[in-house]
Point group: C2
Chain length 114, copies 2
DNA sequence: TGCGGTGTATTAGGAGACCATCACGCTTAT
DNA sequence: ATAAGCGTGATGGTCTCCTAATACACCGCA
């Protein structure tokens, strides 16, 4: 209801949040696909699909038979990429939508600090 | 690429924008499903599906064999509903996402709506 | 009355996401 | 050496959603 996006994308967001919020740092081990699958009530392959998107960007390194680890500088690179995507793609649309709805600046900022 | 959402939802946004921006007013005829389909390169039934979401909310009235028309007070009701949805559901997530990225919400909002 | 416009019910196709299963190769700890 | 845990590959199936093609029912006007 609240989020109808695919499971593997929500998992991707969860993993990204762990890195961006510093809950896991460079070189730290990430949760195994099996444990994350158990936590999330999902299939291990679905979790693997989420991790795969980070591997392709070199943000996590894989040691076969051991696990997945945060790549060096992953947090910075991820933050840079996410900022760029947000500011260049998402934010302009959000702004035009807000203008179309005639939303007030004070109202938005006020709610943002709640 | 830039928007992977279903066609009927993008059409819904386009129709909503026509109403919210006052390009069509109460009682005005809306583009026929066939003409909109031709413009958008979509199927007439896909357009009909977009219109259907507005019918269910009573924002457009249907005259079979004639066309679709903007219902009385549609713009106001639509604006109210869209504002509520944005402020209650979308905006909080956007704000938390900006915080995670270390972006200044207040600064961005003021620049955007200046 | 006939024609061209309208919306729409039916039906079917296709794509994507997700899960289940089995198996394999790898590494680490016991 | 053995066992346990790890990521990964190959299949296959199911489910949901989106989209499409066809055909039909309706209305207004010449």
């Amino acid at each position: 209801m609240t989020d109808d996006r695919p499971v593997y994308l929500r998992l991707r967001d969860r993993i990204a949040a762990m890195i961006l919020e510093g809950r896991v740092r460079d070189g730290d081990p990430l949760p195994s696909v099996r444990s994350l699958a158990a936590d999330f009530g999902a299939n291990p392959l679905t979790v693997a699909k989420a991790y795969q998107t980070f591997q392709e960007e070199g943000l996590v390194t894989v040691k076969r038979g051991v696990g997945m680890f945060v790549a060096p500088g992953a947090a910075d690179r991820l933050r840079t990429a996410e900022r760029k995507d947000f500011l260049e793609n998402r934010w302009p649309r959000i702004v035009s939508h807000m203008r179309m709805l005639g939303l007030d600046t004070e109202d938005l900022v006020e709610r943002a600090l709640a």
